[in-house]
Amino acid sequence: MFFTLIRLQILKSFRSTAFAKSLLANLLLGFLALLLLSYVLGAGIFLRRIIEHFADGEDLLGVLNSYLVFFFLTEFMYRYFVQSLPVIELESLLHLPIGKRKIIHMLLFRSFISPLSVIALLLFLPFGIQVVLVSYGWMGLVTWLGSILMTSWTLHWFMLWFKQRFEDSLIGLLVVFGVLLVGAGSSYMGWYNLGEITKPVFDLALVSPFPFLALVGLVVGAYSLCFLFYVSNAYLEDLSEEENVRFVNQSFGWLSRFGMPGEMANVEWKLIVRHKKSRTFLMLSAFFLLYGLIFYNNPAYKSEDGFSFIFIFVGVFITGIFMIQYGQLFLSWNSSNFDFYLSKKSGVEALVRGKYLLFFGISMVCFLASVPYAYFGWHFLLIHLATFLFNIGILVHVIIWFALWKPKPMDLNKGAMFNYEGVGAAQFLIIIPMMLGPYLIYVPFSLLFNDYIGLFALGTIGILGIIFYNRLAQININRVLNNRYEISSSFRQEL
């Protein structure tokens, strides 16, 4: 029975229309996964040298053990974003005379077969062989590595439960931010040393099997929690996420002032908050606001006069992440209702202008939210202002122009991570103008005069773009109108 179910799963994934259509994309993804895993393995092999480099002369194992907790915090974060839930297949199985518990066991087991489950093993096994085996023998290696693996797998089951239970809810977000804060509080602010608190567990695991056994118990516990939750909620209404109307009155009154485009921006905003994929994109924008923390205070990018070139890129990202991310799939967001806009008078024009309006609005919010970076130096404020102007004056048109190259349909209710629906060659090509564009203008002025003149040039070009907004936007609108038959027929196709 169990194997029949597994076989069905395999057939399903091989025979789905998406698989045949995007075989190449799947191969690419598979290759990418292998590549990433091999990087992880590579990092694992050199882990010993890396630690020696940073903490020369100290006890290697002690150092690693004290940093393990940060690995798990990171794992928590990437699992939260990447790990997908196995409930989608449930619908087609529930009505069959197969025990519910069996189905759930199968689904959970299947979710476990994932590259994520071996990352910890690949990363720490080489180190274990190089260091632990030598000083603590086989027993030490098994219990130490076992403890790490069990912690990682506990996270797997815990996350399956957590995401199904709290995803998209305020509590879920708060917990994720809480985890971020716990990590940051320890490493960045130095309030307390999280590593030292959890270090004894892994130190003990080297010489005694108890931590390992306790963690095995924890895995079983997390699995049971997950299993019981799924079994008791194995009804279509619970798991298929039929949403209540949660955002009914969330509309921006001020957008109405811009007429039809304003109304469209309003509707688009509702689209964003009511679909899983777009919500994730929005949330990512919020996370990217923190991007500057990596660069701005980093001694590697300090320079004597002016500032590092890389800051321009960071500024473009911080103030424009939403238009870069959301805009590269420009029309695909509306793939399921594009005919609506076509059948309305000036509907397409209003749609495109509405999106522009939304991009301007959200960029503005990002710019304002990035003002506190002035704490690291006033020039960051200038960088953000210049890149912000450049983003909304020039870059937004460029991104949309590229995104209008053969837009593809996509399902907005699927998750955003590793979901390449709607993505084509154009979405990769966008990266080029996005990276080079600002530098084309900034670098000549910065080299000829100084960095601030470069910023000034960037901002001026941006303002010119804003002045000619109507003409530039019209180019993209005409592109949509000229390709309307191809776009609408490709959107009507099944995914």
Partner: protein
């Protein structure tokens, strides 16, 4: 009101639509019937400029649909759920359309008043997105939306499909009333011969993309169609 001339749609070698000439006059209730694959939906899509015609043209109120957009303000249509914003609630959707058509709130209330019987209390003021509605209620939303903004032409693809029997009768009454009162031109495609012969004063039968019957005599419609479809 609507002129179609030398209209042809071809996918590679397959000709899916080929209509020499067809005129639909104002205030007519025009029915389109035909078996699956006859080209009904393709014809409607070309008339709405959603699909490009290979040859020929469609004119609505004298304007070629592929060249201008003016005709869109006198045309309302509901073909399928692609024409709805499924992530809004019905109320929000009507509100959005109200702004697009520049109607007042009273206009909207008056308009929806006409549909109260059809909606049967299951559509408005329910906290449910359009995408979560049943197929029947989805259709009702689409039909009510197509008739907003005082259109002169309303195009409905399979309006009776998925509706329960009482809703079908209510919809029929509604269409008949609108043709009488506001001189709206209805274009309706349907597989339900009883309904379509009831309400339409002209029925065109398509087969493999060609017009093979153009029936205008109400008395003979039913028998002619039955004769054709029973083969």
């Amino acid at each position: 009101m609507i002129q179609i001339s030398q209209l042809k749609k071809q996918y590679k070698d397959a000709v899916v639509l080929n209509i020499d000439s067809l005129e639909i006059s104002k205030g007519q209730c025009f029915g389109l019937v035909g078996n699956n694959g006859a080209g009904k939906t393709t014809l409607f899509r070309i008339m709405l400029d959603l699909v490009r015609a290979t040859e020929g043209y469609v004119k609505i109120a004298g304007q070629d649909v592929s060249k201008t957009e003016e005709w869109k303000s006198i045309m309302g249509a509901y073909l399928d759920e692609h024409m709805l914003l499924a992530y809004l609630t019905p109320d929000e959707y009507f509100e959005t359309l109200r702004k697009i058509y520049g109607m007042s709130e009273a206009d909207l209330r008056n308009h929806l008043e006409k549909f109260m019987e059809l909606f049967n209390g299951e559509v408005l003021e329910k906290k449910k997105y359009i995408r979560d509605l049943s197929k029947g209620n989805l259709k009702k939303v689409g039909i009510a939306a197509a008739m907003m903004g005082n259109p002169e032409v309303v195009m409905l693809d399979e309006p009776f499909e998925n509706l329960d029997p009482s809703s079908q009768i209510r919809l029929k009454k509604l269409i008949q009333k609108e043709t009488e009162n506001s001189k709206i031109t209805f274009l309706i495609s349907s597989h339900d011969l009883n309904h379509v012969t009831d309400i339409c004063d002209r029925i065109v039968l398509l087969e493999k993309g060609k017009v093979i019957r153009d029936l205008r005599e109400k008395a003979e419609m039913m028998s002619e169609l039955e004769a054709y479809f029973t083969g």
